[in-house]
């Protein structure tokens, strides 16, 4: 059985309208993949950076996968939240980043978007705050019902990943 080691960091974020941010992340993978060791999801700290500084999370990831099928190569799903001075959390965006197949070190940028609405609902939203959320996070990384959604551009999550593979050449797979 082939193995994939994924380790690195959710480094931080930039380009979001407010700066007191945190994110939750999860690894999404197909049925032929098994997470042998390491956390498959997590939540970062809340960072309110100094004025000239990007949001820094430095949240380490370390995952060890056993692979039976190349189908369903893992992705990382992110949900970025803004935490205000009263400790209220507001969803700022969804993002998905594909874990690279090639071994080595990779710096990735994951663009995020937020579900949006038009008309009277956005007016309410501007008065009372809060944001729209998806009923199911699956819509972010699948094609189902995507055409019904309306989204707006938010910022970017920065990820640094190192990939080490073992045993793929025994099955004739080149990476």
């Amino acid at each position: 059985m082939a193995e994939v080691f994924v380790f690195g960091q959710v480094r931080g974020a930039s380009g979001f309208p407010q700066r007191s941010l945190f994110c939750t992340w999860e690894a999404i993978h197909g049925a032929g993949w098994r997470l042998l060791r390491g956390a498959g999801d997590g939540r970062t700290h809340v960072d309110a950076p100094a004025p000239d500084h990007d949001v820094t999370w430095a949240h380490p990831l370390d995952m060890h996968f056993a692979v039976q099928s190349m189908q369903g190569w893992p992705k990382l799903g992110f949900k970025v939240y803004h935490q205000d001075d009263f400790g209220r959390n507001e969803l700022y965006g969804y993002g998905v980043c594909h874990i690279p197949m090639s071994p080595g070190s990779h710096t990735l940028e994951c663009a995020c978007c937020q579900p949006s609405t038009s008309g009277i609902e956005s007016f309410y939203q501007s008065l009372v705050g809060g944001s729209l959320q998806l009923k199911s996070d699956d819509a972010v990384h699948t094609q189902v019902d995507r055409f019904k959604l309306k989204t707006k551009t938010m910022g970017t999550v920065h990820v640094q990943l190192n990939i080490v593979t073992r045993g793929f050449e025994a099955y004739g797979i080149e990476m």
């Binding site: 997590g42 309110a48 500084h53 060890h64 071994p103 080595g104 070190s105 080490v164 593979t165 045993g167």
Partner: protein, 191 residues
């Protein structure tokens, strides 16, 4: 190949915590720790160290040069729990008390060769304004119980931080037997 009979690979890291960039502080020193998973052991070298106190120069405001050497050899059977370098920067406040100015962490490089790591740093924030004011008077600023807390993902969700500054680490990495054990850390498109 089972874990027990897989043999081990070695990783040699040599370099230095070169400098830090902290625009609003003075008189800073840096502590580094190499943190690794339970499959890893350090065979030679020192896992942690504390640098001298550097003061800022008028020519390069905000730059603190430590040039603090790192030299360590590690061995492991598996890449999981890959070593991270955790840096913690401390400074003295106006009453001469040690205050943490920032924590940062970064995985050591996965490929052999020379690497420059830029490690952004962050310091924990007090939960309330009152604690902030009391902390200033009493010298009890929030800090992590262990600086290696930042090398793990658990418990991070309850922490609020303010990020500020970064540390530059330069290092050279070499491997022994990494490829012999079947691990790939670079694309195999040469042939």
């Amino acid at each position: 190949m089972a874990d027990g009979e897989a043999g081990v690979f070695h990783m040699l890291v040599t370099g230095a915590v070169e400098c830090g960039h902290f625009p609003t502080y003075n008189n800073l020193y840096c502590k580094y720790t190499i943190v690794f998973g339970d499959h890893w052991t350090a065979t030679a070298g020192i896992e942690e160290g504390v640098s001298q106190i550097a003061s800022r120069s008028s020519h390069h405001p905000g730059e603190f040069v430590w040039n603090f050497p790192i030299d360590i050899t590690l061995k492991s059977q598996l890449p999981r729990g890959w070593p991270q370098i955790v840096v913690a920067v401390y400074g003295l406040d106006m009453f001469g008390r040690d205050i943490v100015r920032g924590y940062g962490t970064c995985h050591l490089p996965v490929t052999a060769g020379h690497h420059t790591l830029k490690i952004p740093t962050f310091a924990p924030r007090p939960t309330t304004r009152l604690q902030h004011i009391l902390g200033w008077f009493l010298g009890q600023r929030p800090e992590f119980y262990e600086s290696t807390f930042v090398a793990a993902g658990e418990g991070r969700e309850v922490v609020r931080v303010r990020s500020h500054g970064h540390v530059i680490v330069k290092c050279n990495v070499a491997f022994k037997d990494f490829h012999r054990l079947g691990f790939h850390n670079a694309p195999s498109n040469q042939n």
